[in-house]
Symmetry: C2
Subunit: 221 residues, 2 copies
């Protein structure tokens, strides 16, 4: 019980009604998942509403031709909108979620979820807010995929993915999967960025040298 004070990790859940907090604590499980675990995917109906305590989950779509596109990531303190959608709407997933790091998460069973939704306005607000943020993300992705240039999108993504020292440990193939593009295309763009002195590449990693130049490109429509 003592290690179950996890609601403190979620701003929207701190001021929950005490009996709801108690309900969540007594019926939910805290689970640990190793990096690489497929948490959900097409054809798998989710059994519970998932809140991330630690680690990140990547949500992506895989096409028949084997191409991939990353839709969004769930970080600690967030919940999975898709899980929510499916839990609520009883539809199967069209996308899959993979643990990018070791993950610690809270799994709230559907029955508990239903009860908390019906009894707590604060819980509803928490769930719906998370949901709408992710729907908004989906709109942005549609707009970008349909209308934005690949160099602009790559610049944006490099800035997002870089760590505090401007380093990105991904292969060209993985970057292509982030954007739903092709390895060769990404390789050529990176080559061009390198030619301009904006970054340096080596096998499996990239170092940003002029993030401001990338930011300027990323700011284009």
């Amino acid at each position: 019980m003592i290690d179950q004070q996890w609601t403190a990790n979620f701003p929207g859940l701190r001021d929950l009604e005490p009996e709801i907090t108690h309900l969540l604590f007594t019926t939910s499980k805290v689970v640990d998942l190793p990096a690489g675990t497929r948490i959900f995917g097409p054809g798998q109906s989710p059994e519970s509403y998932i809140l991330l305590l630690d680690g990140t989950v990547r949500v992506q779509q895989v096409s028949e031709g084997g191409r991939e596109i990353v839709l969004y990531r769930i970080a600690a303190g967030q919940s999975c909108a898709l899980t929510t959608a499916c839990l609520m709407g009883y539809e199967d997933y069209q996308a899959e979620g993979v643990a990018e790091t070791d993950v610690k998460a809270v799994a709230i069973p559907r029955a508990t979820f239903d009860e908390a939704i019906s009894r707590s306005a604060a819980f509803r607000k928490f769930v719906f807010t998370a949901f709408s943020v992710n729907v908004t993300t989906l709109f942005k992705i549609i707009e970008e995929v349909a209308f934005s240039r690949i160099d602009v999108r790559l610049a944006q993504r490099l800035l997002q993915l870089a760590d505090s020292r401007g380093r990105i440990e991904l292969t060209h193939q993985q970057l292509a999967a982030e954007l739903g593009s092709a390895r060769e295309v990404i390789g050529r763009q990176l080559h061009e960025f390198q030619r301009r002195g904006w970054l340096t590449t080596s096998r499996g990693s990239i170092e940003l040298e002029k993030p401001d130049a990338l930011r300027q490109l990323a700011a284009m429509y």
Copy 2:
């Protein structure tokens, strides 16, 4: 009051608890909107949850460059997932909804919506199901835009948009906006379909001649 028995139009709302039905009837308004009305759009926070009694609403995204893509349509008996998302999550719209025909709709105020959600499991299920269907649609769009060929997507859309006699009254420009593509591209594809004898075109309209051939193309990934 008598003409407000609109819940009959929504399968998911027929078996609602009587007091919820009463709540909906007494606080919601039935509104009529002429074709072309912009029902919601970026920067407009929705004031109510909308259920369509008659007509169709087109939900689309417009890019900075002026290009458009149609996301989905809402038909009689359906609700607007986006409205829902925004109503629940308090986010602004990223897309706009336009009445394609004259529209008759029920507008449920936020307070009523909140109350019905909290008190009725059946109402929750109705809302969440509609929501998840539309989220699923968004996933399909992302997959298609990112990975499908334009001829396949055009064939699919022509079949969707054709009336019972295989007729489509849209310009090439409008078809391009359906798919987030360009007029010239659509024109060339239509020309190719016509060359194969699958359809005939004339100014502002298209007649499908061999829908089965289109269906076969549309079935490709």
